[in-house]
């Protein structure tokens, strides 16, 4: 199969040493895959480990066991075993992540935050900023805000900046954690359109959507993450 | 002269100083430590220069001593008398006749020859001392030829005054390797050190250091490409001999602001005056 991302036997157990070495298994033997141009929605009850899976896929959480194979520079690479510099390279070129909350960097304006992933790839400043402005405008963020650091922006505005940043770099694989949670209906539809365009250019999307209406608009397939019963 | 060894110092001390001098000549501009002796005059009066002179003096030598270019100041007169009495050698005020010239703060105007030696009295031998107070660190900087700091000093001069304001003890690079203080001679005299036919020896008594510039050695004043080194003199002619290319002293003539400029090198000035009179 020509997948963009595949997990094989992915497991994750958290060990909390400060609580007397409690072990909390969250993912057990997850086999999951997503193809180019496909959008898979992670479903399951709250606390089942959807966000944990998402963070494992990004390399933010280390995988306890199993493999996370991602198509990077034309070959399948095991993200679970990649050294930090390879993870950085994969994140720069192949794998994007729209988290629920924007991590604000002091004094950096919205446009520069959005342009940053492109700049990191070596896109000239002007082109990167033009693309950033275009996306921010499309997400209905007024031009007067583009230069301002978003620390004081509303939750919805910050999320739109996060989304613009995620879509700016045309990643082949894009992870989206509740991308429409704090958006109004108009902007929700903009996000739906952006996701459709990403799929059309062959990107693989993996998302968590609370909003089932949105989910059904964009997802080609559902993947259920089940809670592990025999905890600790 | 009884009761003294020739030229005051005992022979083993002279040998020790000569060894230091030989090493200094072998490593131009490098400060060589030596066992500086107590001399019958205070530090600051030329104890380093006197010990160097005593170590190289022979019975046939003719000694000239100048202080700020002048043969007749107390310091110059005393040192000449000292060596006349302790070594019985001949002394002179004429630059041309001298085989050894001990100096404080000047280089004679008349070009020196291969058969002459110029001995400088040095109060502070370390050119980096004011910028880097740690002696161990200054030695390391010399060892590594790590001299950026000296240019920082000149940079600061230009930044503050618009030009390099250092007018004496102007730092030089010797033989392209060692940074050296030329002793407090005016910067005007610096170019005379470069490729001088005479051997130049420097003695610092209190600091116990000897250094040397062998004949025909390159001595370059530090500068910037866009602020080149310029030897500075008062823009006047000597009141006595009319010279326009020698270093001048300013002399107050009364208490209402009267002043004249005269050659600092008294021998050179006297010679020129004699020539002028003979011509008239």
């Amino acid at each position: 199969m020509n997948h963009s991302l595949v997990t094989e036997g992915l497991s994750k157990v958290f060990r909390l040493f400060l609580q007397g070495d409690v072990r909390i298994p969250v993912l057990d033997n997850v086999d999951f895959s997503v193809a180019p141009g496909e959008c898979v929605a992670l479903t399951g009850p709250s606390g089942a480990g959807k966000s944990t899976l998402m963070r494992c896929l990004y390399g933010n959480y280390g995988a306890g066991a199993g493999r996370i194979l991602i198509r990077h520079r034309g070959a399948m690479v095991d993200l679970a075993a990649a050294d930090p510099r390879l993870v950085r390279e994969i994140r720069q070129e192949t794998l994007g992540y729209v988290s629920q909350f924007l991590r604000v960097i002091p004094r950096i304006g919205a446009r520069d935050i959005v342009a940053e992933p492109l700049r990191a790839r070596g896109v000239p400043a002007e082109a990167a900023q033009a693309r950033a402005s275009e996306l921010l405008t499309r997400l209905n963020l007024p031009a007067r805000l583009h230069n301002l650091p978003p620390a004081t922006f509303s939750g919805g505005e910050q999320q739109r900046i996060n989304l613009a940043r995620g879509f700016a770099a045309d990643y082949p694989v894009l992870l989206l954690d509740e991308p429409t949670a704090s958006l109004d209906p108009v902007n929700r539809q903009v996000v739906v359109a952006l996701m459709a365009e990403a799929k059309a250019r062959g990107a693989a999307l993996i998302g968590i959507f609370h909003d089932t209406e949105i989910r059904d608009q964009v997802a080609d397939r559902l993947f259920e993450v089940l809670p592990i019963q025999d905890a600790a | 002269m009884s009761g003294y060894n020739f030229a005051y110092l005992d022979e083993s001390t002279k040998r020790m100083i000569r060894r230091a001098i030989l090493k200094a000549v072998a490593i131009p501009g490098h400060q060589v430590p030596f066992g500086s002796r107590e001399m019958p005059l205070p530090y600051g009066w030329g104890t380093g220069g006197i010990q160097v002179t005593a170590a190289i003096l022979g019975p046939a030598d003719v000694l000239k001593v100048i202080d700020q270019g002048s043969d007749d100041t107390t310091n110059a007169v005393s040192i000449r008398a000292f060596f006349r009495r302790t070594a019985g050698i001949a002394t002179t005020e004429s630059t041309a006749e001298a085989s050894i010239i001990q100096t404080r703060h000047r280089i004679p105007e008349r070009a020196l020859r291969e058969d002459q030696i110029l001995v400088y009295q040095v109060p502070i031998p370390e050119p980096l001392g004011r910028l880097e107070p740690r002696i161990a660190e200054t030695r390391r900087m010399h060892a590594m030829a790590d001299y950026g700091l000296m240019h920082v000093k000149l940079y600061e001069d230009i930044a503050r005054h618009g030009h390099i304001a250092t007018s004496y003890s102007y730092p030089v690079m010797v033989n392209g390797r060692y940074l050296m203080s030329p002793s407090p001679i005016p910067a005007f005299d610096n170019p005379k050190m470069d490729r001088m036919p005479a051997l130049q020896l420097f003695g610092a008594g209190r600091e116990k250091r000897i250094y040397a510039v062998p004949p025909y050695t390159s001595v370059k004043s530090l500068d910037f490409d866009d602020h080149p080194f310029r030897p500075i003199r008062a823009p006047h002619a000597c009141e006595l001999c009319g010279s326009r290319d020698t270093y001048l002293d300013e002399v107050l003539t009364d208490d209402v602001g009267g002043r004249i400029f005269v050659c600092s090198d008294t021998d050179f000035c006297a010679e020129r005056q004699a020539m002028k009179e003979a011509a008239e």
Binding site: F14, R15, L16, F17, L18, R55, G59, N60, Y61, G62, P84, R85, L86, V87, R88, E89, I105, P106, R107, I108, R119, A120 | R140, A143, M144, D146, Y147, G148, L149, H151, V152, Y155, E156, I158, A159, R160, D223, F224, D225, D226, H227
Partner: protein, 252 residues
Amino acid sequence: MNAPLLTARDLTLRFGRIAALDGVDLEIHPGEVVAIVGESGSGKTTLLRVLSGLMRPDGGEVSYLGQDVLGMSEAARRRLMRTEWGFVHQNPRDGLRMAVSAGGNIGERLMATGARHYGNIREQASHWLTRVEIDPARMDEVPAKFSGGMQQRLQIARTLVTLPKLVFMDEPTGGLDVSVQARLLDLIRALVADLGLAVLIVTHDIAAARLLAHRMLVMRHGVVVESGLTDRVLDDPQHPYTQLLVSSVLAA
């Protein structure tokens, strides 16, 4: 991928009965920012001093682009220190000449490497003052007149003027007010990204490490207990000490 700039293998150093470094391995690649975190006394500043050749370890190897750092002559090490390396001290007084003007401070490394054109040196000094957000009109003032934050920014300008490949930073925001720290961190972040510097930064400030570093080493009692991608070490810490360290700070 490309070869590491600096490699350290099995570094050990004891102060009497205390192990300051105990089998430390480390690599840093061009353009990589690596943070060494840990509480006071964990050995992180000692590690920085050993890696930069300021201190000899009891055992182990350090190499920079294939050169043996511990075996190199002092002349060679000093040459590196004023060209391809830089060191930013916690206290700007240790890294600046307090009696020399801001311009002279920046110009020193240039002059030490042969710059002899006053006008060009001034131009560079002015450019670097602007880059670290100090008004170039203050070029001729001595750093003693500057605030702590400005002094630290001046130290950074003085270090970066020769475009080093590798910069060692020892708690660069340590002595500063929180508001000033944020500005300095952001400035360092931007300069490091623009210039593609490799930086080895020692800090006990987890938030600073998250903002600046690509990769992180956690040290305790002279041992690297955990290392990896910065966000993974902070969000999914595997060692009890790292969990304690992360849980002791407010949302980093």
